[in-house]
């Protein structure tokens, strides 16, 4: 070969490491990083879900008896949890509408939809807080056996992730209001929307598991 080296040009590399837009095309660093991070989050929840199935399988009946009241634990879908679930699913749609809007370059629709998504996220957290208060007043606590422990750990860590997602949405909203996103430059929006969808999917799984999956009767009853 005549040449044994060539100068590094901006076409070979983005001049700034971690720059979102890769001249060679393909998925951006930020979005790939978020997808990988979400993978690790999936494994985190997998650990908690495994614990839930384990204690459920070991229990003679599910939901088990609350030692304080002498009756089986019972969770109410209405009035709070059902509407909160519907709201969170809706927020996934508004989040995606925001992504589509900024891809078109429609900043007004983007800001409106991100704002709605953020508001729903905060509302969900408030509703969860109220629900926790009601449960605690009924004697269902973190310390009340495997039922309380798994319920509050699973929903609590989901709530923590909603909280984290709401902060991310808040940052995106703030940056959007400052005009930092455009049809070309909006990787943060794409990444945060992925995270929000993940949080939503986890809740759908949790809701199905905790509220819809039939319990099991004690053997011989």
């Amino acid at each position: 070969m005549a040449t044994d080296s060539h100068a590094l040009t901006p076409q070979d590399h983005s001049p700034v490491a971690g720059l979102a837009h890769d001249e060679r095309g393909g998925i951006s660093n930020v979005v790939l990083g978020m997808l990988l991070f979400i993978t690790s989050e999936v494994m985190f929840f997998a650990g908690l879900f495994a614990a839930y199935f384990n204690v459920r399988a070991n229990a003679p009946q599910w939901p088990p008896i609350n030692a304080e009241t002498g009756e089986a634990f019972h969770l109410e879908i209405l009035p709070l949890v059902g509407p909160a679930t519907v709201l969170l699913i809706l927020s996934s749609f508004t989040c995606q509408f925001a992504v589509w809007a900024i891809r078109r370059g429609d900043r007004t629709a983007f800001l409106r939809n991100i704002g709605v998504t953020f508001a729903i996220g905060v509302t969900f957290l408030i509703m969860q807080g109220i629900d926790y208060t009601i449960l605690y007043s009924e004697g269902v606590t973190l310390g009340s056996g495997t039922f309380g422990t798994t319920y509050f750990t699973l929903t609590g860590f989901h709530g923590a992730h909603v909280f984290g997602g709401a902060i991310m949405l808040g940052v995106v909203l703030y940056r959007g209001l400052a005009g930092q996103f455009s049809a070309r430059h909006h990787d943060a929006v794409e990444a945060v929307s992925l995270y929000w969808h993940f949080v939503d999917v986890v809740w759908i799984l949790l809701f199905s598991l905790l509220y819809l999956l039939p319990g099991k009767s004690p053997a011989g009853v």
């Binding site: 590399h13 204690v55 422990t149």
Partner: protein, 555 residues
């Protein structure tokens, strides 16, 4: 171009310390990973000397049972979570962007976060000594041993341990995301996946393991934390929980973690062996697939730590454990045939790589014994297991770390380490290591259980324990030539030049130490040995038309 450079005087308003603490340069972060890890290596080593001193003779001479439990718990915690895992991440940090021809990692600021979480975790662990009781439930912190009630670890020390390990895990996860995006997105033109140095492949597989396994450990530790502090019932059988659950979730991380702790060390010696044998790596693709196979199989063997619980399906986990020896054996052949008929240059990096090969081989063989269920029932929780894990993690990983240190120190600092002192260190360490850990096989077969502070003087274990203690102090002595070597080299070592070893990979194409942006020019990348091609590609220019393939590709 000179107009774009800062005036030299502009540098003086920042101190060197400020520059290092705030840096996002992957090379400085890599070096700080190494320094941080070595500090905790020495702390963990001192704790190990405490363990060995107590065990030198029967009876309790120096510490109480409780303090002994703290010693071995904290020894293992520091060595695993704050030395081996981070130091290999540190080598990866320094070398991966250089190996693939990138200017930095994909997320430099997250990289800095990954680094600075580690000293914080280490400080929390050290603080636990001042809480009245340091963690004493072993590095595994099994429940109910690690529970407050009724007999377990009291006080906040165990909680500090949990928080510290979660912090280390967070650092690992963020580091894994960073490595994967860097490797998949930031490779130089021509650097296809199958031209990447083996070191990069091992970091890639390690990152996948870290990404998928570490969060499961986090969930286990969080459940333990809830049980300890908020009356949770995850692992408490009296409230419907399941103590075995903790072991399952814990080992789902901690067995893959064994590969996290050894794969990058395998990568290091796979860089060292070809360079010092003056040959390409034998069977590059086989090595890559073997690495991926170890990563995949690594997720299906965790319960071989739990054979004696009676709660796992023995034939499956035994079979998988035997299976994982196959790709490891493939690698042994790769390494041996890389050296076969090579022109071996017996420099210190090669010596440590040979140490890795021989010691890791023993660790693999004695591990295969324990994979057989009936044998494991006899050997479980004896000193045989201690021997096995140290042959893998010390004889394997630490020898690999030393090989990497001697190999890349010139690139990191621009100075050569002394060969003489390096060889003294190797001899002391090799002898000390085998004196310490080989007798433990015999002790285990003779029935000595692990994690005991005292033993009967009539059990026949006295001489071998004394021998192991002498070996332990020999290992400690081998650190003196290392520290002296580093100290002298930094002050007045021989300048290294760009490429002191006649290396094959891209890090040797830039200056030592490399500039902040890594490369002015990249050589053309047409194989996994671009620098070899650059050096020898001109050897027979007239022949290029006749044998283009053999001149330009090596796999």
């Amino acid at each position: 171009m000179a107009t774009t450079a800062l005036h030299p005087a502009a540098r003086t308003y920042r101190s060197t310390l400020y520059e290092w603490v705030t840096t996002t340069d992957h090379k400085k972060i890599g070096v700080m990973y190494l320094i941080n890890s070595f500090i905790f290596f020495f702390i963990g080593g001192l704790l190990a000397l405490g363990v060995r001193s107590e065990l030198a003779q029967p009876g309790l001479q120096f510490v109480t049972d409780q303090v002994y439990n703290e010693l071995f718990t904290m020894h293992a915690t520091f060595m695993i979570f704050l030395f081996i895992i981070p130091i290999l991440a540190g080598f990866g940090n320094f070398i991966v962007p250089l190996h693939i021809g990138a200017p930095d990692v994909a997320f430099p600021r997250i990289n800095a976060l990954s680094l600075w979480l580690l000293p914080m975790a280490g400080l929390l662990l050290l603080l636990s000594f001042f809480t009245g009781q340091a963690p004493a439930a072993g590095w595994t912190s099994y429940s109910p041993l690690a529970q407050d009630r009724p007999l377990g670890s009291v006080g906040p020390g165990q909680d500090l341990w949990i928080v510290a390990v979660v912090l280390v895990g967070t650092s690992s996860i963020l580091g894994a995301v960073n490595f994967l995006v860097t490797i998949f997105k930031m490779r130089a033109p021509g650097m296809t996946l199958f031209r990447m140095p083996i070191m990069v492949w091992t970091v890639l597989v390690t990152s996948v393991l870290g990404l998928l396994a570490t969060p499961v450990l986090t969930s286990a530790l969080i459940m333990l934390f809830i049980d300890r502090n908020f009356g949770g019932a995850f692992f408490d059988p009296r409230n419907g929980g399941d103590a075995i659950l903790y072991q399952n979730v814990f080992w789902f991380y901690s067995h893959p973690a064994v590969y996290i702790m050894v794969l990058p060390a395998m990568g290091i010696i796979s860089e060292v062996l070809p360079v010092f044998s003056r040959k390409p790596l034998f069977g590059y693709k086989a090595f890559v697939f073997a690495t991926a196979a170890i990563g995949a199989l690594g997720f299906s063997v965790w319960a071989h730590h739990m054979f004696t619980t009676g709660a796992v399906y023995l034939p499956f986990f035994s079979l998988m454990t035997f299976l994982i020896a196959v790709p490891t054996g493939v690698k042994m052949f790769n390494w041996i045939f890389t050296m076969w008929r090579g022109q071996l240059v017996l420099s210190t990096p090669l010596l440590f790589a040979l140490g890795f090969l021989s010691m890791f081989l023993i660790g693999g063989i004695n591990g295969a014994f324990s994979a057989a269920v009936p044998v494991d029932f006899a050997l479980h929780d004896t000193y045989w297991v201690v021997a096995h894990l140290h042959y893998v993690l010390f004889g394997g990983s630490v020898f690999g770390v030393m090989a990497g240190l001697y190999y890349w120190f010139p690139k990191m600092t621009g100075r050569m380490l002394s060969e003489g002192l390096g060889k003294i260190q190797f001899v002391l360490m090799f002898i000390g290591f085998n004196l310490t850990f080989f007798p433990m096989h015999q002790l285990g077969l003779a029935g000595m259980p692990r994690r005991i502070a005292d033993y009967s003087s009539t059990a026949g274990w006295n001489d071998l324990n004394l021998l192991a203690t002498i070996g332990g102090f020999t290992i400690a002595a081998s650190m003196i030539p290392l520290l002296w070597n580093i100290f002298v080299s930094l002050r007045s070592g021989k300048p290294a030049g760009d490429d002191p070893w006649e290396g094959n990979t891209l890090e040797w194409a830039t200056t030592s130490p490399p500039p902040p942006y890594n490369f002015d020019h990249l050589p053309e990348i047409r194989s996994e040995r671009p620098l070899f091609d650059q050096r020898h590609g001109h050897a027979a220019p007239a022949a290029t038309a006749v044998v283009p393939q053999s001149a330009s590709t090596s796999h």
